[in-house]
């Protein structure tokens, strides 16, 4: 993905995504997913063409985009690690694990490592409470984690 997408390029590619999905019932979310996939985020410049294409206001599209934390404003690193911070994981040392991971990566929540490799995000329940503490690396779930296993997962992802 090219980080230097020009506003005009975003507009054109978004308009193309909109027209491809416009006939769907409830097309806004599928369009946002496609836009997110194309640019790694939902850039501000994509809002107007979506609004124009669906005959919505910019405010309405903005309201939907900002409702979902997973629609990013700017692209994440190459991989995203989501650590669960909900009650079940907390009860078996989730907080401690999170601290260890942050220390190991040298970043805080929502941040990306300086080499652009990993972005760390909190998540509130992955539905994997029986295997707490849990995490998700990109699209893969991992359970019964400790600092060492997280390190392995990260190392694997970086290869």
């Amino acid at each position: 993905m090219d980080l230097q997408d020009s506003a005009q390029d975003i507009t054109e590619r978004t308009a193309e995504i909109v027209s491809r999905n416009a006939q769907l019932e409830g097309p806004l979310l599928p369009i946002l997913h496609d836009v997110h996939h194309a640019f790694g985020c939902v850039p501000d410049a994509a809002i107007q063409p979506i609004a124009d294409g669906l005959n919505l206001s910019r405010a309405e599209v903005h309201g939907v985009v900002s409702f979902y934390h997973d629609f990013r404003k700017s692209p994440a690193g190459r991989h995203t690690l989501k650590l669960c911070r909900a009650e079940a994981c907390q009860s078996v040392g989730g907080d401690r694990l999170a601290e260890d991971v942050m220390q190991a990566l040298g970043i805080n929540w929502h941040e990306t490592t300086p080499d652009g490799r990993i972005t760390l995000e909190p998540v509130y329940c992955l539905g994997l409470c029986s295997c707490a503490p849990a995490a998700m690396m990109d699209d893969t779930l991992h359970g019964r984690l400790d600092a060492a296993s997280v390190k392995d997962i990260v190392a694997e992802a970086s290869r």
């Binding site: 919505l56 910019r58 405010a59 309405e60 903005h62 309201g63 900002s66």
Partner: protein
């Protein structure tokens, strides 16, 4: 007098015919099916606590305060989202409910500032009221936790805190006081239809966001005030309330801007106006407003307003402030002197569409009874005179056929040459609401107006015709309807003259009028025209709304006739949801026409040549009335240039700026011996005046305005006239100075005279208006409560009349020297010549007139966005900045005429409607070229107006 508190029923009324009976706290209440439990309870007089519900918008069910218990149901449903059922037993106050509500309020208050005493909404805050209603005594959660209230919390910057947004000139947005009830967002969507607001984020991070987290001014917000009205706290608050404090009494009156005629509560503290609040019982607006009526009243106390009479011997002298007696004596002796020297026809009046019916009646009476001639005309000459003529000829009345509410039953709406979202915004919102419910829209306009496409609205067909080809398009639509057999023969046979129909059908069926034949001329694809005609004829209730884009043409009257023909052809007349509706420009343009302002008509559209009509007034006024029609405005100016017309009394109209071909107007005015301007400000016409009589605002007088739906609305005095006299009193003083003996002590006496002499107003009295709120004429023994829809059982003139509509191209044509066509229009924030709105903060939205030009035409001329360009026509030239947009087609340019610095009417020509002389503002052949700044003419005019506005220092 006290503050009018309107009942908030919480949810909108249900239109169901079925009724349901339920019990609320032991009381039986019967309501229409579909009503919410909350509303039913309020109907029974029991107010259930609520925060997110208000009856202007649909129920939302987010605040969890309006919970009730319903026998046989589990839990505590929200009363706003629960519809009533027969036999339902509702309890609104139980131990469980009390605990729940108090708990909810504790949560709200734990994230809300406790600055009630210094808060602008103190005394008008629903959050405060609800805290009281639920008996909140303690907030167990404390205030130390995360919150949105303070900029710094626990010694650190609070990332959740957002500072106040004060960018809108009229209201502030203070996010720290927001309870995120979404009422503002829903009002913007459901009532106004702009969709400028949203809730961004979610959960505790939810915030109201204009646009995409922008300021209100930078967003799409049109400042209609619906969100401010809906806000239950001080989050959205009028700046005037912040500055002054809460009002203590209010008076219901009528807005003095456009022809929609919205009802407002003028909320006062003493004689200071605190705010204007739209009135829910107002039939024209049903509780909605626009930026002009809601906020732009500051001109009434602007420093430019002139409060003392002034005179001068000649227009190169400075003004001299004098007493009323001296000014009126000076005016009277000059007018009488002119009549002695040049005959009684040498003077005349121009009545105002901005003043009340009563005032207009007196001004035309001044001409007819005191001057002894029929030299009276009004600004309707330059806007809707073709409507009067066209609808009078075809239907028999010179007015729209419906009330505004009718649009809620329309299935296909045709908007021709009108821009309701800018020109008639409150009606525009009502129309958009109907379109969102599924009505189809056809727009016939050279420019892509907002209705063609804006959030949740899209026109089925936009016929972007070339300016000046209205008749060809309307006739082509009729061609399709007749040749494809889509006309309603039963209706035509029953209601219209069959012979005339056959003649008309033969005329339109001529292949020369087919869409294919006129495509090259009009620029509209034939297939679009055919599809539009089929939709209008077959889509259910078809309603036509039109504006000045129809009338202000050399064939304005013909187009009006063509529109009437379309409605008769398809049977779209005489019931709710259909009709032909002119959107009137000014607050009382309908009324000023009704009141006999035209030189050939006495009040009620009765020709002066009819001796029986003259006899009525001769008996009442004790004078002889001339049977000869007087001069129209353009004729007055022509006669002035010729030297035969030498004196003019102009009430509340700025003919120099608003009338076409400014140079001709100024030459006419300059040639007169006595020009009396009666106005709030030294307007452009006053540059050529000898007498200036200060006027009063709509806040300072009693009277009535008649809006575009023929609705007679009361205007009520809320403060004493700052200039000393209401306008009707000034006219009376002038008449008496000229020897009349008028003794009106209140406008109700003038209305009594109007009712006694005008059949369509026969039953109108101030008492009736007090009882009914408003009434739509005709109001007489046949229609004692007025007539929302006209021509119900037959046309007023008997049988509807079809008239042939031959297209004759205007003489104003684009050619090699002037290859572009200029058309003119309005913008939302400014009104007409801008005399009022330019003197308010509305200038933040539109501080100068700009020229819209298509990118293709701009590129050919090397014009970039924001460049100064010179706009030249055969009549003159001016310069202004260019805005490059594809709203206008190639070959067409567009501007507004709100600012005297631009004087767009220097460009417009003196071509006019064949029947009524309504000027052809909408088509002028022009050339556009780059320029460095204002033209010589603009600079010379600037100097002249500065010179002629000098006022001599008092001794």
């Amino acid at each position: 007098m006290s503050l009018i508190k309107e009942t908030d029923y919480g949810t909108p009324t249900s239109r169901s015919q079925e009724t349901v009976t339920l019990t609320v706290d032991g009381f039986d209440v019967t309501v229409p099916a579909g009503t919410s439990v909350m509303r039913a309870s309020m109907e029974a007089g029991i107010q259930i606590p609520k925060l997110c519900a208000t009856d202007m918008v649909d129920a939302f069910g987010s605040c969890r305060l309006c919970l009730v218990e319903i026998e046989g149901r589990r839990g505590t449903p929200a009363s706003c989202t629960t519809p009533v059922e027969d036999g339902m037993v509702v309890r609104t106050q139980t131990g469980r409910l009390k605990d729940l509500r108090r708990g909810v309020m504790e949560l709200y208050i734990s994230d809300h500032p406790l600055d009630c005493l210094t808060c602008a909404a103190n005394g008008d805050c629903e959050l405060q009221d609800m805290a009281g209603a639920v008996g909140l005594r303690d907030v167990r959660y404390g205030y130390e936790g995360a919150g949105h209230v303070t900029a710094r919390q626990n010694g650190e910057d609070n990332p959740r805190y957002m500072p106040k947004d004060e960018t809108n000139p009229y209201f502030t947005y203070d996010p720290s006081k927001c309870i995120v009830c979404s009422r503002c967002v829903r009002a913007c969507e459901e009532v106004q239809g702009t969709f400028a607001l949203t809730i961004e984020g979610r959960g505790f991070e939810s915030r109201v966001s204009p646009g995409m987290s922008e300021s209100f001014l930078a967003s799409e917000c049109v400042s209609c005030g619906a969100c401010v009205q809906a806000c239950p706290t001080a989050t959205l608050q009028e700046k005037s309330v912040i500055e002054i404090g809460q009002p203590e009494h209010s008076v219901v009156t009528t807005c003095a801007y456009c022809g929609v005629g919205c009802s407002f509560k003028a909320e006062m503290r003493g004689d200071e106006l605190v705010r204007m609040v739209p009135y829910k019982d107002g039939k024209a607006n049903a509780g909605h407003s626009c930026v002009k009526g809601r906020f732009a009243y500051g001109y009434a106390s602007h420093r430019d307003r002139i409060l003392n009479p002034m005179i001068r011997d000649s227009i190169d002298q400075p003004w001299r402030e004098v007493s009323w007696d001296e000014a009126l004596g000076f005016a009277a002796s000059r007018l009488r002197g002119i009549q002695e020297a040049h005959g009684k026809e040498a003077i005349g009046v121009i009545t105002s569409s901005r003043c009340t019916n009563e005032e207009t009646f007196l001004v035309q009476k001044l001409a007819r009874a005191v001057f002894g001639n029929n030299n009276t005309d009004t600004c309707a000459r330059v806007c809707h005179s073709p409507t009067g003529y066209g609808l009078g000829q075809t239907f028999g009345t010179s007015a729209g056929t419906q009330d505004f509410e009718s649009v809620e039953r329309a299935d296909v709406v045709v908007v021709i040459g009108a821009n309701p979202t800018d020109g008639h915004p409150v009606f525009g919102s009502r129309l958009k609401k109907r379109l969102r419910q599924g009505a189809r829209l056809i727009v016939i306009d050279p420019r892509r107006i907002d209705l063609v496409k804006s959030p949740h609205i899209a026109a089925a067909h936009h016929l972007a015709l070339r300016p000046g080809t209205n008749v060809a398009v309307v006739t082509a639509l009729a061609h399709v309807i007749v040749t494809e057999g889509l006309h309603d023969e039963t209706f035509i046979r029953e209601r219209c003259d069959w012979e005339e129909f056959q003649d008309y059908a033969e005329f339109v069926a001529d292949p020369a009028h087919s869409p294919e034949a006129v495509e090259a001329l009009t620029g509209v694809p034939a297939a679009e025209m055919r599809a539009a005609a089929r939709l209008y004829a077959q889509g259910g209730n078809g309603a036509i709304y039109y504006g000045l884009g129809v009338t202000e043409h050399s064939q304005g009257s013909t187009t009006v006739i063509g529109i009437a023909n379309l409605a008769m052809l398809t049977g779209n007349i005489g019931r709710p949801g259909v009709g032909v509706n002119p959107l009137r420009g000014q607050n009382n343009v309908q009324g000023s026409c009704d009141m006999g302002s035209f030189p050939h008509e006495l009040p009620g559209y009765r020709h002066v040549k009819n001796a029986d009509v003259r006899a009525i007034y001769e008996a009442t006024w004790g004078v002889e009335i001339s049977p000869e029609p007087g001069l129209r405005i353009p004729n007055m100016l022509d006669a002035a240039v010729d030297g035969t017309f030498r004196g003019l009394y102009v009430q509340g109209e700025d003919i120099l700026q608003s009338d076409p071909d400014t140079k001709h107007v100024s030459a006419g005015l300059a040639a007169m011996d006595c020009v009396i301007v009666h106005d709030l400000f030294l307007n452009e016409t006053a540059n050529y005046a000898h007498v200036f009589l200060p006027g009063s605002t709509f806040l300072e007088k009693d009277g009535t305005f008649t809006n575009a739906e023929r609705r007679i609305n009361r205007v009520r005095k809320v403060m004493a006239p700052r200039n000393g006299y209401a306008d009707w009193e000034v006219t009376q003083l002038l008449a008496n100075a000229m020897g009349a003996n008028w003794n009106y002590t209140h406008p109700r006496e003038i209305m009594a005279e109007i009712a006694a002499t005008t059949p369509s107003f026969a039953n109108v009295t101030y008492k009736l208006l007090e009882e009914m709120g408003s009434v739509q004429w005709p109001c007489n023994d046949a229609n004692p409560e007025g007539a929302p829809v006209m021509h119900v059982d037959g046309f007023v003139r008997g049988r509807g009349r079809f008239i042939r509509t031959d297209y004759v191209a205007t003489d104003e044509r684009a050619g090699p020297r002037f290859p572009l066509l200029l058309t003119t229009g309005r913008i939302l924030s400014q009104y007409n010549v801008g005399a009022q709105t330019r003197r308010t903060d509305n200038v933040v939205w539109h501080s100068e007139d700009v020229l819209e030009i298509n990118p293709h035409d701009a590129e050919l001329r090397g014009v970039k966005d924001g460049d100064w360009v010179k706009l030249a026509s055969r009549s003159g030239e001016t310069s202004l900045r260019a805005r490059i947009t594809d709203r206008v087609s190639p070959g067409v340019v567009y501007t507004t005429f709100h600012h005297p610095g631009t004087q767009a009417n220097v460009i417009t020509t003196d071509y006019s409607d064949w029947a009524t002389n309504c000027p052809e503002y909408k088509v002028t052949a022009v050339q556009v070229s780059r320029s460095n700044g204002p033209t010589d003419w603009q600079e010379e005019y600037e100097r002249l107006s500065a010179r002629s506005r000098r006022i001599e220092a008092a001794e």
